[in-house]
Amino acid sequence: MTNHYCDLKNADVILIMGSNAAEHHPIAFKWILRAKEKGATIIHVDPRYTRTSARCDFHVPLRSGTDIAFLGGMIHYILENKKFFKDYVLNYTNASFIVDNGFNFKDGLFSGYDPKKRKYDKATWVFDKDGKGIPQRDMSLTHPRSVFQLLKKHYSRYTLDKVSSITGVSKENLLKVYEIYASTGVPDKAGTECYALGWTHHTTGSQNIRTMSIIQLLLGNMGIAGGGINALRGEPNVQGSTDHCILYGNLPGYLKMLSASLDTLDKYLHKYTPESKDPQSANYYSNYPKFFVSFLKSLWEDKATKENAFGYSWLPKMDDGKHYSTMHMFDAMYAGKVKGYFCVGADTAVSTPNSNKVRKAMENLDWLVGENIFNNETYEFWRGPGVDPTKIKTECFLLPAAATMEKEGSQSNSGRWVQWKYKAAEAPGDALPVGEIEIKIMAAVKKLYEKEGGPNAEAIVNLKWDYLDSKGHFDVIKVAKRINGVFLEDTVIEDKAKGTKTEFKKGQLVPGFGNLQADGKTACGNWCISGSYTADGINKMASRGKEDPTGLGLFPNWSFAWPVNRRILYNRASCDVNGKPYNPKRKLLEWTGDKWVGDVPDGPWPPQADRAKGKYPFIMQRDGLGALFGPGMAEGPFPEHYEPLEGPLEKNLLSSQRMNPAAEIFKSDMDKVANASEKFPYVCTTYSCTEHWCTGALTRWQAWLLEMQPELYVEIGEKLAREKGIKNGERIKVSSIRGEAPCIAMVTKRFKPFTVDGKEVHQVGMPFNYGWLFPKDSGSDSTNMLTPTVGDANTFCPEYKAFMVNVEKL
């Protein structure tokens, strides 16, 4: 979230799209309803009528997988009707930048596409620069190659007729949403968006979110109270696990994972340290070397020296252009290349798309290590449906873990609040915290390498790994302090702006990432979280102050919010170029002439009207401004509508490119696809319910919750049910070209057929909370037996939200 949960109450309009907040984030929804009580308009756009729809001002159904078309139409509406916040767009976005002459867009493809590789060469997705290397701008926004004009041209194709035909949303409903949401493009109104898996689970997931980001920039809704883009994320510490990057492409703190071609530390730092010639751009990532070297020091401390490039060569390097996400891992496992598998606190045999392939892949494993508080389908794959255990070679370990209230540590919510929690009781039996299990496994591995040696053994034997306390248990405080960062030598930090010098002693904690050093004097496990401890060792994550000085619900003394306790990101954009709040009624921040007052500002510099010292507000962007033109994306700098891998249409109604041209296609014999097929004519989407969580791997074991939602069902609209002769409560079969899922039919008014390209299209939906292991007698299994192995072109988040099925009576 750019903002945070309590801040939802500050909005004037809330668009809930890609989320069923009332059922999946009930307590977040409380804050949405609080905005409604104060007069805000709440809109729900979703294929299905849910309890969220019931409490909103109105619900607009749209066909799964057509969000970019819907939102692209909104961009068109905002630009055509001049509803954008001009002062903001001009000063705080790259609307005025001039794009390279070679850039173009034709029939669904941007310049530079290579159909063989399904990748773009982005050489023309750049800005023209002046003699000093600063991007050229046209402040009149009329230059035909200005971002503003290109944006306008791109979305001029998203007319009401076209968008209605693609999405199945009536033109009246489209206009209603566009008008109400665009009404926030004025200084004293705030609009926010809440999304969840309904936006990420698509081959165009990242671009769904980017389309909304463009809208938020056009309306001046970024960086303000009651604004922003808010991901209601689905796991208790998914923000923290992402921050610590248990992800193939990043190291803790979103540092870039190494690639083979970057064979030296210098080359690596050169590539990932952005340079800006514009003196008004803070370009905060120019500090990248400090964060990265401090991370290397946190791993190997005194073994990482200037002479050995701080151990740079010890880290693994990915092959350039290759990806190693979950789907790639199971694809490699299916091909017999992955032999050992750690599955911690997860149930991948249920949660990964194309579960049949995943389970077949696991049969190739030599060993499997599971760590969890309950058993699940992944750990018992060797005796799953249709599997003969006597034919499965895999050596399996299932290690008992402590539950959350049986251990101390911190958890980060979606609003980036890092909250400390305490141990209430001992874990039962032999169970241990996952952290302790992991430390002990690695300690045992380390011991073997110390004794026997092995390839690249330095990375392991030199690893600083002293995170057990004197009694041999997980020392969580020690790890938390390592993450925060520490001075490894006596260090004098000079602040030239303030004219001060501060001396820190060896062993003292760093007060924040601004103090990190690129020369090896500091170690920091994750620069984003630096500042969670004070230099005197006070744990700010444990703060429980309830003061609310701004009245906006920032609660600055409750827990620690990264970065540097900033509660709303990009908050300098809530003020005009002189630092005066655009909306004095919701004053998030104000420049008082010598300092910012309010939230922790995005940097101490004066507002940008001060041409000498002032900085632009989007400090993490190289150019300092919000990116309407976003060349970082795999499939283009402007989001474009493409159909899902599997959909009801043979053609994309907007271009000749049916699906995302940059999405990777998996090609194993178990990766079958059926687009616009008579055999699988219905659009299917998946979701959760209030009583279960994710795969149900924790909640299915709880009698109270299971009683409420006992087994797998499919929601079918009344018209389709009548056509198929299916009755409510009847046991039926849902199938895709990849597998089957027997379940109970729930005939409902919540799904209505869509009119798409003039034809009637039915959509059905299923929860993803079930598996075969428990409850024993239900006959349910994973909904992911149906879903395809395909994902977003940037993130490889699978397309669980739009694929094609058939429903049949048994």
Binding site: Y5, S241, E452
Partner: protein, 195 residues
């Protein structure tokens, strides 16, 4: 951390009343349930109160665990009224949090091992598991280690071991796993944030 119990839990007594009435042949189950609740409130008042954060969605609601000082066991978990986000309220899953404690008979409490081609789990101890897992990790890593790729570039990686999870453990545990995987040279590293 021990916190002060909220003021509204000052109800006392009235537990004995129902017992005498039971001899009249009335159905006193609801009364008994009520009495049990009152007795639980008495226990809560003298319990050790420990705060935690919910382990389901990412809203980060606060909960209070009541721990019996004599046994050290949790006997009640409810919403933390002092928490600025949930203000004491919880969803169905959060309200059922107690069923995650050891009171749930399905909790894993032993190290389980399934040998190759085996048909059942066997109970083992930590020493066995840690030393055997370490052996398997080292043998798999060493046998399949890729020092240089096809282009001859130094890559120092192991593609033969995958690591998945987890976004439902604490930050400090996440960092440990992230770092462990890198030191081993793994590249197939992922978790629920992807899905």
């Amino acid at each position: 951390m021990q916190i002060t119990r909220r003021g509204f839990l000052t109800m006392t007594g009235a537990i004995g009343g129902g017992v005498a009435l039971s001899s009249l042949g009335l159905n006193l189950n609801p009364t008994r349930a009520y009495a049990d609740e009152l007795s639980k409130m008495d226990r809560i008042k003298i319990a050790r109160q420990v705060t935690t954060i919910c382990c389901y969605c990412s809203v980060g609601c606060g909960l209070v665990c009541s721990v019996d000082k004599a046994t050290g066991k949790i006997f009640n978990i409810e919403g933390d009224a002092d928490h600025p986000i949930n203000e004491g309220s919880l969803c169905a899953k959060g309200a059922g949090f107690f069923d995650l404690t050891e009171a749930n008979k399905h909790r894993l409490t032993k190290v389980l091992y399934r040998k190759p081609y085996g048909t059942e789990w066997e109970e083992k101890d930590w020493d066995f598991a840690l030393s055997r897992i370490a052996r398997l990790v080292k043998d798999t890593r060493d046998k399949n280690f890729i020092k240089r790729n096809d282009k001859g570039e130094l890559v120092n990686r192991c593609e033969a071991i995958g690591h998945y999870g987890s976004s439902n453990v604490d930050n400090e545990e996440c960092w440990i796993m992230s770092v462990k995987s890198r030191a081993l040279g793994l590249v197939y590293i992922d978790h629920q944030a992807r899905v």
